[in-house]
C-alpha cells in the first residue's frame, strides 16, 4: 500500500502601500523613474540621517489589519533586521519584530463551494528594498546594478497560519487577500508590477502525522497561475523525494515559469540570523482605541459584505455574486452597469459569459476592457427594445470589445437591426417551408422538434437578424 501525503502551506504576502511618499522620508513612491532619482539621504542610508514615520502608512496598515479581522496593537515598535545585501544601503531593514501593528486575524476563502477560515498570524509594517538589475540571469551575471528608487517604499507583510492544504486553497487565499486589500484602497495589489508579492512555504507529511515536515520557501511568483502551479509542483517534488527515501532540505526555491519547475536558490540555515533589535532611531507607536475605531468605521464595503448584498438586494445566485466580487475592478464595473440597467442578473450573465470569455482569450483583465459600463447597458437595452436579437447582440458585443464603439453605431453600420416586421418575415418563412418538405412533414406528423430546424433555416436566410420569437409564431401558424 502506498502512503498518502498531505500538504501544509503557509503564505507571506508583501503589499506596497499606495502612499505619496516613502515610509521614513519624503521621497516619492512613484513607480519607475530614472534610476536613483527618487532618493534622498534618508533612504540612501547616509550617515547622520534619521527616519521619521509617515502617518499615512500607519493609517493604511491599521485599515488593512482591520479588514483582515486582526487585533490592532495599542503599542508597537520598529526593529532592525540585519543582513548584508546590496539592495539595502543601511545593511539593515527597518521592520517590526516582536510587537507588530496587527495580529490574530483571519480570512474566509471558498474552494469547491466549501468555506474555510485561514488564520492570519500577523501584519507588520516595513520598508521595501532596492532593485537589483542583473546582466542576463542572477547566476551568470558578471556584476549587478542597483537602483534605490524602491528603497523605503512602505510595505505591509501579512503572514498566514499554515492552514492551507492544497494549491487551490493557496491560490484562493491570495486572491481573496488581494481583493480585500484592494477594496480598502491601501494598495493597487498588482502582482505583475510587484506591488503584491508572495512567498509560499510548503511542506508535506504523511496523512495522520501531527508534526510538520521540513518546509521549503518558494519565491518569484508573479501571477495566481504561477502560484498554483508552483505549489502543485513543489508538493509532488517533495513527495517524490520522501518516496525515494530522501530528505527534504530546508531552502529557498525559485519558480521557473518557462520550465514549470521550482529550482533551489540557496540553503537557508545560516541566513536566518537577522539579529533583530529595537531601532533606537524610531520611537514607539501608541494607538488609542478611539482612533482605531474611527478607522474601522471608515472602512468601505468589503468583498464578503458586497457579495452578501448582491445576493440579498439583486437576487443574484451565490456563484455569480462570488465571481463578481472577486476583484474590485470587476465589482465596480458591475455596479456601474446596473446604475444604467435594471436587471442585475442579465448584466451578470454577460459579464461572466461573453466578457469573461473574451478577456480570458486575450489574457486581459477587466481594466483593459474597451467596453464601457454604460455601453454594455446600452447593448442590453437594444435587446430589450427588440432592435437586435440576443444572438446578434453577441456579434455586436465582440465588435464592441474589439473597437470600443457604441452598440448603436455598430448595429447601424453593419445593418444588424432585427427584422420584426411580420410581412417581411412571412415571405422568408414561406420560402423555407417550400424548400424543406421533409421537415414540414415531420412536424405535421407530430415530431414537433422539427420546428427547430425550420427556425434555424429562417435565421440563416436572414443572417441572424430575424426576431426568433416571431419566426416561431409565424411557422406555427403556417404549419397548422
Amino acid at each position: 500500500m502506498t502512503q498518502s501525503y498531505e500538504a501544509v502551506i503557509g503564505i507571506e504576502v508583501h503589499v506596497e502601500l499606495k502612499t505619496n511618499t516613502k515610509i521614513f522620508c519624503n521621497s516619492t513612491t512613484e513607480f519607475g523613474g530614472d534610476p536613483n532619482h527618487h532618493t534622498c539621504p534618508v533612504c540612501l542610508g547616509l550617515p547622520g540621517t534619521l527616519p521619521v514615520l509617515n502617518k499615512k502608512v500607519v493609517e493604511y496598515a491599521v485599515r488593512a489589519g482591520l479588514a483582515l479581522n486582526c487585533k490592532i496593537a495599542n503599542f508597537s515598535k520598529f526593529d532592525r533586521k540585519n543582513y548584508y545585501y546590496p539592495d539595502l544601503p543601511k545593511n539593515y531593514q527597518i521592520s517590526q519584530y516582536d510587537l507588530p501593528i496587527a495580529e490574530h486575524g483571519y480570512l474566509d476563502i471558498e474552494v469547491d463551494g466549501q468555506t474555510k477560515r485561514i488564520g492570519i498570524t500577523r501584519l507588520h509594517m516595513e520598508e521595501d528594498a532596492g532593485k537589483l538589475v542583473h546582466q542576463g540571469n542572477i547566476v551568470t551575471t558578471p556584476y549587478s546594478l542597483v537602483d534605490y528608487n524602491r528603497t523605503g517604499v512602505p510595505l505591509i507583510e501579512i503572514v498566514s497560519e499554515p492552514d492551507m492544504r492544497s494549491p487551490e486553497e493557496a491560490r484562493a487565499y491570495v486572491e481573496k487577500l488581494k481583493a480585500v486589500i484592494q477594496y480598502t484602497g491601501v494598495s493597487d495589489c498588482r502582482m505583475e508590477e510587484g506591488s503584491l508579492r508572495c512567498d509560499v512555504n510548503v511542506s508535506v507529511r504523511p496523512v495522520g502525522q501531527r508534526e510538520f515536515g521540513t518546509k521549503t520557501e518558494i519565491k518569484n511568483l508573479n501571477s495566481f497561475r504561477a502560484l498554483q502551479r508552483a505549489v502543485a509542483f513543489e508538493i509532488e517534488r517533495q513527495i517524490g523525494v520522501l518516496e525515494s527515501g530522501g530528505k527534504v532540505i530546508q531552502e529557498t526555491r525559485t519558480w521557473d515559469e518557462a520550465r514549470g519547475i521550482t529550482v533551489s536558490m540557496r540553503s537557508k540555515e545560516q541566513a536566518h540570523d537577522y539579529r533583530y533589535f529595537p531601532d533606537p532611531d524610531l520611537v514607539p507607536l501608541v494607538l488609542d482605541n478611539q482612533w482605531i475605531e474611527f478607522i474601522r468605521e471608515s472602512l468601505p464595503e468589503l468583498p464578503d459584505q458586497r457579495r452578501a448584498r448582491y445576493i440579498r438586494e439583486y437576487g443574484l445566485p451565490e456563484y455569480d455574486a462570488s465571481i463578481l466580487t472577486l476583484t474590485k475592478e470587476m465589482s465596480d464595473y458591475f455596479e456601474e452597469v446596473i446604475q444604467h440597467y435594471h436587471t442585475p442578473k442579465a448584466v451578470s450573465n454577460w459579464m461572466m459569459g461573453e466578457m469573461a470569455r473574451l478577456l480570458n482569450a486575450g489574457g486581459m483583465d477587466i481594466t483593459r476592457c474597451k467596453i464601457k459600463p454604460t455601453q454594455l447597458a446600452e447593448l442590453l437595452k437594444l435587446i430589450d427594445k427588440g432592435t437586435i436579437s440576443g444572438k446578434i447582440a453577441k456579434t455586436v458585443f465582440e465588435e464592441m470589445f474589439a473597437s470600443g464603439k457604441d452598440p448603436e453605431a455598430i448595429v447601424k453600420e453593419k445593418g444588424l437591426v432585427q427584422i420584426s416586421d411580420e410581412g417581411a418575415l412571412a415571405a422568408v418563412v414561406d420560402e423555407v417551408i417550400a424548400a424543406n418538405p421533409k421537415s414540414v412533414q415531420d412536424y405535421r406528423g407530430g415530431k414537433t422538434q422539427a420546428i427547430g430546424f425550420l427556425v434555424g433555416q429562417v435565421m440563416k436566410a436572414t443572417r441572424g437578424k430575424a426576431n426568433p420569437d416571431l419566426v416561431n409564431k409565424l411557422l406555427k401558424e403556417k404549419l397548422q
Binding site: 534622498c40 521619521v52 510587537l99 558578471p142 549587478s144
Partner: protein, 93 residues
C-alpha cells in the same frame, strides 16, 4: 559563555575578516562585556515593563507630502563604482 565559534559566526555575519589572534582577543573581550552585563541580571525587574525606547517619547509622525530629492550625481558621489545612474556592485547570489 561566548565561544570562538560564536565570534567566527558573528564576524561572518558582519563581513569581518579576523585572524586567529583577533578571534582569541575578541572572544576574551566579549566574554568580559557579557560578565559586566550579567551584573544587571541580578536586579529584580518584576513589574518593570520592557524598554522599547530610552526616551519617553512616542508617535513622532511626518505628513505624506513629497519633498526634495537628492541630485543623482550627489547620490552616486561615494559609489565605489557606477554604470550610468546605477550603483555597480559585485554579483551576490
Amino acid at each position: 559563555m561566548i565561544s570562538k565559534q560564536d565570534v567566527e559566526h558573528v564576524a561572518l555575519l558582519a563581513r569581518l575578516e579576523l585572524n586567529e589572534e583577533e578571534k582569541e582577543l575578541y572572544t576574551r573581550q566579549l566574554n568580559k562585556i557579557l560578565d559586566a552585563a550579567r551584573a544587571l541580571q541580578e536586579l529584580n525587574t518584576d513589574g518593570v515593563p520592557p524598554t522599547a525606547h530610552v526616551l519617553p517619547i512616542q508617535n513622532v509622525f511626518r505628513e505624506d507630502r513629497v519633498g526634495e530629492h537628492i541630485d543623482p550625481e550627489k547620490a552616486l558621489a561615494n559609489a565605489p563604482d557606477r554604470e550610468e545612474n546605477f550603483f555597480k556592485v559585485p554579483k551576490i547570489v
